[in-house]
Symmetry: C2
Subunit: 212 residues, 2 copies
């Protein structure tokens, strides 16, 4: 089962790496990193490069598509070539998935029209401009489309997807390999749990950026 | 505050990327990826490359050191040059940290002698051969040394470290940015929670590999 993870300059790395780490542990899953051009793509704040081993043309029919997010959604929504590839491969995927604002990429490609979907909490409103129905849940499945909330939610989504496709034992095995027994030292991981001033500060800082 | 994350061929990518994503969101933290040579390092199962922008010599006095793990601990424990760098930078770090079997790297460098530490559940026994005291906890702090359990535990460790160094608000902000409100669909993330046959199968598959 071929999984294509899209890379691009400006991506948020954990969006891609959470699901990658879960999926690569499943026997029979092949994970490949794909970009418009082969070679290094730089992360959102330029502190890290990841290598795309394959071009979009190299991977025309992945079974699973994963589009990671970015604080700069135009990096995907403003790239016609990438949007066309998303649209094309979605036609034949088993599962089409996104993490964080990667959902805006799926949406801009037309894939989420009329679909229930989620994204980073700061970007939920932006989904409506593409005709998607925003849902405040950590992982949302609508038919063959799975969308995850912000950044770290991709781990939960990937485990759910592996459970659906390969059975509970495969997902539990992946979970135990990555020892995913979360014990966050604070309880501030969603806007309804975090202190209000922190929520407000992030809305101020990133709110406009994430509108697709 | 300079954070050096060690890269090497064979590393488990999420070990590095969980903490990176937390730390890079904190104002005043500079994260750099360091390796014996500048350039691409390939992940544990060769499906992805990450770029080291800096050599060990480029980063002689990081404030925070992070050593990620690997299914092949010899990649670190068998590299005298990397061990010497770990030993040298540890002398002046504010915090020395590891994720997963990265602890075996710290241990082989002599940093964990007589210290309480943790690592991936499959590698806990191996810590004793270097004089460390294995602890079955997700995040262990002994003085300025923080060690995290397997792979995903680095996220929890980084949040705890940020809380300690920069205060609760900084950690809560980082947690909310990455929307870390975990909701794993299964409860199999530690050997005492996962089904026994899955624990046994992973011991069989990886147990010998992870002995340092």
């Amino acid at each position: 089962m071929q999984t294509a993870i899209l890379l691009y300059d400006g991506m948020t790395v954990l969006d891609a790496i959470g699901p990658y780490e879960v999926l690569q542990s499943v026997p029979g899953v092949e994970v490949c990193f794909v970009a418009r051009e082969r070679g290094e793509k730089r992360a959102d704040f330029k502190r890290l490069g990841l290598t795309a081993d394959y071009t979009l043309a190299d991977v025309p029919r992945p079974d699973i598509l994963l589009v990671p997010g970015t604080p700069f959604p135009q990096a995907v929504t403003g790239d016609p070539e990438v949007l066309e590839w998303i649209r094309a491969v979605h036609a034949t995927t088993t599962w089409t998935t996104s993490v964080c604002t990667g959902a805006l990429g799926l949406a801009a490609a037309g894939v989420l029209a009329g679909k229930r979907a989620t994204t980073h909490w700061l970007a939920l409103d932006a989904l409506t401009q593409f005709g998607a129905m925003p849902v405040t849940e950590r992982v949302v499945r609508d038919g063959k489309i799975w969308t995850a909330a912000g950044v770290s939610a991709g781990i939960d989504m990937a485990l759910a997807l592996v459970g659906e496709q390969f059975g509970a034992a495969a997902a539990q095995t992946a979970q135990l390999i990555i020892e995913y027994d979360p014990q966050p030292p604070f309880d501030a991981g969603s806007p309804d749990k975090a202190p209000a001033p922190i929520v407000a500060a992030l809305r101020e800082q990133f709110g406009k950026l994430l509108q697709g």
